[in-house]
Amino acid sequence: MDRRITISNFQLMALIVISTIGTSSLYAPATFAHYAERNSWYLVVVGGIMGLLNLLVLLKLNKFYPDKNILAICTHLLGPWFGGGLAFLFVFYFLDLSSWILREFSQFFIIALNPIIPQMWYLIAGAIMCAYAVYHGLEVVARVSEIVFIVTVTTFLAIYVMLINQYHPEYLLPILEEGLIKPLKGLMLSMSWFGDLMFISMIIQYVRKTKSTTAYAMAGVGITFLLLLMSVLSCTMLFGGEATATFTYPSISLIQNIRLFRNIERFDAALVVVWVMSSFTKITAYFWSAFRGLSDLLKLKQPKRWIIPMAAAFVICSRYKVWGLVELTSFYDHQSWYFVLFQLFIPTMLLFIASIKENMKKSR
């Protein structure tokens, strides 16, 4: 890495939005509806606030140590042994998450698009696509994500707009009839989705910082929030709370309801576009983070050689991780603390320690 990598604020925003929205918005409505039925929008709102909080923690941490990524901060704060161990845990988390998303990526096609092609092919295609991007480095990924951002957001908006004459706003009533606390059962899950932006703790040191960096990052969370809210709302308004919970991918059913000029329908191809593009960005972001973390921690001399073995490992891990979608979603559902732990709790803890340490330095 001779030249210093820099990415722009807009690219940061694009990365945040796509990696958070793309994959979750497809089945988020169903899972939210499972917890809160027609009030699932409320879960999104609270989750969004938590997501903003999460972002602020990461940004604050970056303010303390502007040229360190989260792994370096770990070792800096907690010493080489304990901190190094934590850093390894983070790398493991990145690796693990990449293979989870890769599995999600392929699972979607098996279920929603075409069960004929073996899953392995999808996994391999996905892994090659992402490994290729990681090989070219973060700047390239960031540039592609800008295009992906524009395409994805426009497609989502177009989908919601085309359904506008089929909405039944009365499905949302009565609003929050069970109080503000009860629907929060699914909060952990909602947080874990918004918390997907935590990979920015690895890339934020490369962002060309201006005054508006924070604003852009927050706008990223804002756009994510709005799109997720729209997807939840339109599902609820179209199918009602209970029916939404029964779908695997409510967004597909949403698209299948679009009909133009009476017989132009089935815009599923649009969903393929969005899904491939957003999964690509998300996997690549985590893949890159894992790759970067691994090469930093082990001080690899030729890190690029490790991309192919890593990609192969992802394929194998993803294939045998779970046996199907049911196990996959139930893991997301019940073990979401695992994600939130790395997304929010550990960074918060680090921030705590950092602020104590900095205060002590100042008082001295």
Partner: protein
């Protein structure tokens, strides 16, 4: 002879002998001794056929009348070595050897018959200038200067090719062009080790950023107005002697969809044409792949009535869709290639063969389905809308890759292909400028003059993409 610095001698016969040896005893070397002045004789040397004899005569007469006027028409300074004399002769100069004094002077008398200024065949326009570049370097520079009569236009000569000694001119605009990029261009041109430069593509391959890439990282054009437009955007032009194609750099991907005619029409029309070109570029890239993916994997996405007609048309065809589409695409490429190579007189034969045999008869024989013929024809026509840069060919090559991916993984394969293509494009740079700019890195205000065309009255900013020094074209009076 071994010594490259062999000086001219003061002996006439000796000079003639050595020079003849330097010129490989070539038969078209003419050396005439003539007494110009009393007591002083000169040897006039030139290569027969390469020079304009009338011009030489005129020069000699003028010289005889008034010896002091010689400096007025001599082009190069005095030459003292055989190497200089030989190089001068080879590039079309006449050399007067003053044998008694041991030096010579060169006179530019190049008189070769070249094509006159003509309408560019590869970039014809309906509205707009009709003159295109020719093979003459001087004339090409003059064509640029004629429309861009500004003292800030800078021309720098360079010579590349150890044997061919090809002259070229680097065009830039002082106060606009970024000197760093210009410096980089100079450096790369000076480092070309090739022995011969026989066209602008030779230069392109030597100075491109990425020699392994399929995509052109430099643009070439035959049109002076396009060169001037590029110069005003802060880009650099390279005119190579002997070719009407002028190189423009840096080049970004989306410029492949622009033609100079966009600026000759009103901006609504220009923008619409540009959008159509972009759209047809995409269709050209993806339509066969989309068809193959749909027919092979995703029948359920087609409206039922359309599916019925596709299925019934495909029913007699024994091949899978991917084989069918490859056959048609290859047939189309062959016809296109034949169309270029073919003498004009037999052109009709090929179009009849193409239309009847490859179209109708193939369908009736049940080799390809009619839908596939439509797809192949539409794809082919779509790629013709693009200006004939190398992108055109790249799209046709990638068509095949995309179709192959589609036959393996359906729509997912196409998307994976697109993503990898985007990744690759994003990783390219042309003289330090990101190839996908201004789409990525995203810049909305600059995209308005790339995807569509801005009105001339609103076009007051130069693209910052090319790192121009002076960003403002004009200040609008409000």
């Amino acid at each position: 002879m071994d010594n490259n610095k062999a000086m001219l001698t003061c002996d006439e016969d000796e000079n003639k002998r050595i020079l003849r040896e330097w010129m490989q005893n070539t038969d078209d070397l003419v050396m005439v001794s003539s007494a110009i002045d009393l007591g002083q004789s000169v040897t006039v040397c030139y290569l027969a056929g390469l020079i304009d004899g009338r011009q030489l005569d005129q020069m000699l007469l003028l010289y005889k009348e008034d010896k002091d006027r010689l400096p007025a028409f001599q082009v190069d300074a005095k030459v003292h070595t055989f190497e200089e004399v030989a190089n001068g002769l080879a590039s079309g100069m006449s050399v007067l050897l003053f044998d008694s004094d041991g030096y010579g002077i060169t006179i530019d008398t190049l008189g070769v018959q070249l094509r006159s200024v003509d309408e560019p065949t590869s970039e014809a326009t309906v509205k707009g200038a009709r003159s295109g570049f020719t093979e003459s370097l001087q004339n090409n520079i003059a064509l640029v200067r004629y429309q861009f009569a500004s003292p800030s236009l800078k021309v720098e000569y360079r010579i590349a090719g150890q044997l061919s000694k090809t002259k070229m001119a680097i065009l830039s605009v002082g106060g606009i062009t970024n000197p760093d990029i210009l410096q980089e261009v100079h450096q790369r041109i000076d480092e070309i080790p090739a022995d011969a430069i026989l066209g602008s593509n030779y230069i392109e391959e030597w100075i491109t950023d990425n020699r392994g890439t399929l995509f052109p990282l430099l643009e070439s054009t035959e049109r002076p107005d396009r060169v001037i437009g590029a110069l005003l955007d802060g880009r650099i032009g390279i005119i190579v002697q002997g070719t009407p194609f002028v190189l423009l750099l840096p080049f970004v991907f989306l410029q492949a969809f622009q033609v100079s005619e966009d600026y000759a029409w009103s901006y609504y029309i220009g923008s619409l044409m540009r959008l159509i070109r972009l759209f047809s570029g995409m269709v050209g890239l993806l339509l066969p792949a989309f068809y193959v993916a749909t027919v092979t994997f995703h029948h359920e996405l087609v409206p039922t009535t359309l599916l019925q007609s596709i299925a019934s048309a495909k029913e007699p065809v024994p091949f899978p869709a991917v084989v069918e589409s490859f056959m048609m695409m290859i047939a189309f490429e062959i016809m296109r290639e034949a169309g270029i190579r073919m003498p004009k007189q037999v052109g009709q034969a090929v179009s009849i063969v193409g239309a009847l045999i490859l179209g109708q008869a193939a369908v009736e024989a049940g080799i390809v389905s009619p839908i596939m013929v439509i797809v192949a024809a539409l794809t082919g026509i779509c790629t013709f809308t693009l200006p004939p840069t190398a992108i055109n060919y790249v799209i046709r090559i990638l068509q095949f890759v995309m179709t192959l991916l589609a036959s393996l993984l359906g729509y997912v394969g196409i998307m994976v292909g697109i993503i990898m293509l985007l990744t690759y494009l994003a990783s390219l740079r042309s003289f330090g400028v990101p190839y996908l700019g201004p789409a990525a890195p995203f810049n909305l205000s600059e995209l308005t003059d790339v995807i569509v065309r801005r009105p001339h009255t609103k076009n007051n900013k130069r693209p910052s993409l090319f790192r121009v020094i002076h960003n403002t074209r004009f200040r609008s009076k409000s």
